[in-house]
């Protein structure tokens, strides 16, 4: 067996790590561990000079294993694996110790933090000794793409991909394409017609030779992995087997139902309507009350179902500007109407939005502020003598007065929330949901398009509420990524799969029972289990269940993890005694 030569690198991450961890001390102490050839610290390991340092050392000192102690492996593991590869080393001869997210950012005692960092690095050093070369595995990419959801996000993604010549399967749950955008009149902040934009896109989608649309359809199950997914879709009684290489999830969000909020009296007063119902009035060209009259007093209430602990804590991001849009449309339709905006905070980010707010606020619109957390406005029936039919009672924050506003029409700016089937979809495509049932992106900043499942992308509102430009940006970003993989024709996949040592396997078939992917079959002739590596996703459940130790989870073998535990504890206890 070749001699183990480990290079250890401790990152300062500027001051992020060095502030709380004595990195020089860590590097010095760990250099004494058996197998460690060199141990260094450096300002930014992930920078180009940082990586160059590793590559140079690998070549000069004939290193065959590398430990980098820096941030979370979820951020930079791939970066360093690439560096190892560039130096001619197998990328899996590498282990990362997370001393930023797990040490310097969460502890405030420098001495203890340094000790913990030493233990974590010692564990990584111990573990990396057991690492073995793993061969790269590539899979071919099926050029077709499955797009789930036919709103503006899905349509945009489908058209972008189809225009490059790749086939697209577009799945729409309802009978019509267009989603929420087809239900609105004008878009903010420039007050263009939403219909005009989306209608042209719907028509192009429906007649595109590369797009196959399945309306009234839901996807129940998807099998396979990046490049080679497949799904069976029920269509008019028959079943169609679709094969595709990538998945775009664009299932959108639905408007919040305000029936549960008693103070707003939705359902009780016919003239209390939701924003989407108001859009219907705008599209029909008549803004009339239930009695068929022009409303004299229109109150627009913001944040209905948003930014409140009892409904949804998040901001739905589109309602403030939509409310301003309504104020503009109302002002031009009924010039002498009294228009009130009852709001919690006016959020006017985004291009052209602050300008929309400024210009709207100069159109004689009254802005009334309420406490969205503890003191919501209450809609009451007006007294018999009043000229209006409703009164809105609220504690107005800017004046500090308890007031009532006469109203003939109340528009509730309902927020956006996840569809009921979000969880089901997340399981079907194998991605995670966050606390609000929005689909989780791979990284909130560095990769807001991909997901933790290779080949699955999230676009549009289903990832988080956003306006149309942001949705289109995300849809186009996802399609660019997909086209990249299609152009390459194949993609590298994780090689962290399970493998059976046929000499030890006793054929008990326990592993077959625990595998969630039916990736293991029983070879009757040999009397052993066989893992299909194309299907195996490397969870390691079989490895833990195997009574004889015949199954090894690559890169998470028993030896690797046990030595990591031992390394960690021996260092930790050694330091404790000091």
């Amino acid at each position: 067996m070749e001699e183990i030569r480990i290079g250890v690198y401790i990152c300062w991450c500027g001051t992020n790590i060095s502030r709380m961890v004595d990195v020089e001390d860590v590097a010095r102490e760990l250099s004494e561990m058996p197998g460690v050839v060199i141990s260094k610290d450096y300002k930014y390991m992930c920078s180009d000079p940082g990586q160059a340092l590793i590559i140079k050392d690998i070549k000069e000192h004939k290193l065959n294993r590398v430990v980098v102690s820096a941030c979370s492996p979820r951020i930079h593991e791939l970066t360093f694996r690439k560096a190892l590869e560039n130096a001619g080393l197998n990328p899996y001869m590498f282990q990362m110790a997370n001393i930023r997210e797990q040490v310097s950012w969460v502890h405030d005692d420098r001495e203890k933090a340094t000790k913990k960092a030493k233990a974590l690095v010692a564990a990584a050093i111990n573990r990396v000794k057991w690492h073995e070369s793993l061969d790269k595995r590539t899979v071919s990419i099926n050029p077709s793409t499955l797009v789930i959801g036919g709103g503006i996000a899905g349509i945009t993604a489908a058209l972008e991909l189809a225009d490059t010549g790749s086939p697209v399967y577009l799945i729409e749950k309802t009978t019509e394409l267009g989603g929420n955008m087809a239900k609105i009149d004008l878009t903010f902040p420039y007050l263009n017609s939403a219909r005009q934009i989306i209608q042209e896109k719907i028509e192009r989608t429906e007649h595109h030779p590369n797009i196959h649309i399945f309306k009234n359809t839901v996807v129940d199950e998807i099998f396979g992995y990046i490049g080679n997914f497949n799904s069976i879709i029920g269509q008019n009684g028959s079943e169609i087997d679709l094969k595709f290489g990538n998945i775009v999830v664009a299932t959108g969000l639905k408007p919040f139902d305000p029936s549960g909020l008693e103070n707003y009296g939705y359902g009780k007063f016919p003239d209390v309507i939701t924003s989407l119902e108001f859009e219907k009035k705008l599209l029909s060209g008549n803004i009339l009350t239930n009695e068929g009259k022009d409303p004299e007093n229109v109150v627009i209430i913001h944040c209905v179902g948003s930014r409140n602990r009892s409904e949804h804590e998040y901001c739905s991001r589109t309602c403030c500007m939509t409310a301003l849009k309504y104020a503009n449309q109302l002002r031009s339709a009924i010039p002498d109407a009294n228009i009130y905006q009852a709001y919690a905070d006016m959020r006017a980010f985004g291009k052209g939005c602050e300008e929309l707010y400024t210009s709207t606020s100069r159109k004689g619109i009254m802005f009334l502020m309420f406490d969205q957390q503890n003191d919501l406005p209450v809609i009451k029936k007006a007294e018999p003598g009043d000229s209006c039919n409703m009164l809105i009672e609220m504690n107005e924050k800017l004046s500090g007065e308890k007031i009532e506003i006469p109203a003939d029409m109340v528009i509730l700016m309902v927020g956006l929330e996840a569809h009921e089937d979000a969880k089901k979809i997340s399981h079907t495509v194998g991605i995670s949901l966050d606390g609000n049932s929005f689909f989780m992106e791979k990284h909130p900043k560095l990769d807001p398009v991909a997901t933790t499942t290779s080949g699955v992308y999230v676009v549009g509102n289903c990832q988080a509420p956003k306006d149309i430009p942001d949705t289109i940006t995300q849809a186009k970003a996802a399609t660019a990524r997909i086209m990249g993989t299609i152009k390459q024709g194949e993609v590298e996949v994780e090689v962290i799969t399970a493998v059976v040592n046929e000499d030890i396997c006793c054929g008990c078939q326990t592993c077959i029972q625990v595998c969630p992917y039916t990736a293991i079959t029983y070879d009757v002739v040999k009397g052993v289990s066989v893992v299909n590596e194309a299907i195996c996703k490397g969870c390691g459940t079989c490895g833990s269940a195997c009574p004889t130790g015949a199954i090894r989870s690559r890169h998470f073998t028993d030896n690797q993890i046990l030595s990591q535990i031992k390394g960690l504890l021996s260092k930790s206890l050694e330091l404790k005694e000091v």
Partner: protein
Amino acid sequence: MSYEPTIIAFLCNWCSYTGADLAGTSRMKYASNINIIRVMCSGRIEPLFVLTAFREGADGVLICGCHPGDCHYHEGNYKCLRRYYFLKKYLTQMGMNTERMRLEWVSASEGKQFAELADDFTEKVRNLGPCKIKEAAETLT
């Protein structure tokens, strides 16, 4: 000097490790006694890992996985749960306090919960005092 327990935490890559990362990016402070070891799925956590940790001197072992129904691999966390109960029984038979081992579900968005869990478990283990398994094993062999 007061007793500082050493705790090994096994975290699944998709939910709990990401949740711990979130605690870090959110700069939530928690006890430095928690040492994290990453596995791909809580279903990968073998009883042997936990026992080895105790044998090598850990005072407590924390196991975290995705919430039921949220497993990245569909059902690994259920396998983990079953092993956990089994292991608990085994630890009892060995005469160990089962409170030294704990299983909790931590999702990727629960950074705060992870930090609170870390503090809470550390405090509990601290109250239990040092684990003597390593000493005992060394005298026996």
